[in-house]
Symmetry: C2
Subunit: 202 residues, 2 copies
């Protein structure tokens, strides 16, 4: 079993934190996104969509998409369950993970790509879209703050993949200096607690 | 139990098809997106993020996000399982559902919003982003075609939520006249078969 990933990318980080939470260690092959290794023919035999990370199983089957890889391991290594257990828990985790991804991590990533032109060698860069995306992330953060004022973690009492997604998004936004309200009280308190977990250390 | 939804929207359609596949019928309250009913205070008490659909349970708990609602019912009403059963099946369904959503349905929706200005009363409209999004959908469709040349459904033999997502995306693209290659052989054959299921009839 082997993980093809870019540990420094948000999706690489998501899977790394998830595996650390589960206490799972598997060999990694680091893919250089900047150099376009993910677009090379060799990588595309593992993932035609050219995205990291990809988990290659012993029999050669490849699982792409960070959340799919995490879900595979949640099922195989049950404790701690990071996607929830009951129907309602699973639905709540799915809801908050999607909210964190679609309303925060994705806009933050779009803002980065379209305001810096980081991937201008391979995609159209639309600064106006970068601005609009940053504005979305800016407007959504208070909604997460409200939630974290009434709940210890995003999906409820327990730490789940939804917290990983939001925390990784926030870390990426800070590193890339997105113009966001980082001082919201509940998000700040939650972020300090979550990002100091051992799984976030590497 | 009550479903607040906009049946004509792609996400409303996704949940409607899913429920029909499961043979579940629950009362619906139609929300008028064009008129902004989803942004009204009353709706935001059910979903602060202002999106449809939202499932309200008997005790008042609200589950937002189409995939979260579907997952809730997949767990509660096991047959037929539309998210897979084993760890590998679940991972494959997650992977293909995400690919269909992030690389097709989402770009198609963005192309619609930014090339028509449908929601210009509430969001910035960036035509250049609409063009770029349509181009992504155009480039991704052949990857789905390749997959459907080797597999009966997206995630394997069985029909799953991933097929619903791609088929709903394709239907929306056709209705809104996105400029895409609709004549790819495997996608066309699969689409004809899938979209003629009874669950797609309404």
């Amino acid at each position: 079993m082997k993980l093809y990933t870019t540990s420094a990318s948000p999706n690489g980080k998501r899977v790394n934190v998830f595996l650390a939470e589960k206490g799972i260690d598997i060999p990694r092959v680091e893919i250089d996104l900047r150099a376009g290794e993910n677009l090379a023919l060799d990588f595309r035999t593992r993932n035609p969509f050219g995205r990291v990370p990809v988990l290659e199983l012993e029999n050669g089957t490849c699982i792409a998409e960070s959340v799919a890889i995490c879900r595979y391991f949640d099922f195989e290594h049950a404790e701690p369950m990071l996607f929830g257990t009951t129907a309602l828990e699973q639905a709540m985790v799915e809801m908050w993970n999607r909210r964190a991804e679609l309303n925060f991590l994705l806009p933050v990533a779009q803002a980065f790509r379209h305001l810096t032109g980081y991937f201008k060698d391979r995609e159209p860069v639309v600064p106006e879209w970068g601005q609009a995306s940053e504005q979305v992330a800016r407007e959504m953060l208070p909604l997460f703050d409200a939630r974290l004022g009434e709940s210890r973690h995003l999906a409820g009492d327990a730490f789940t993949i939804a917290d990983i997604t939001l925390a990784v998004g926030l870390a990426f936004a800070r590193t890339t200096r997105r113009d966001l309200p980082y001082d919201l009280p509940n998000v700040s308190r939650w972020y300090e607690r979550v990002s100091s977990r051992r799984s976030f250390a590497d």
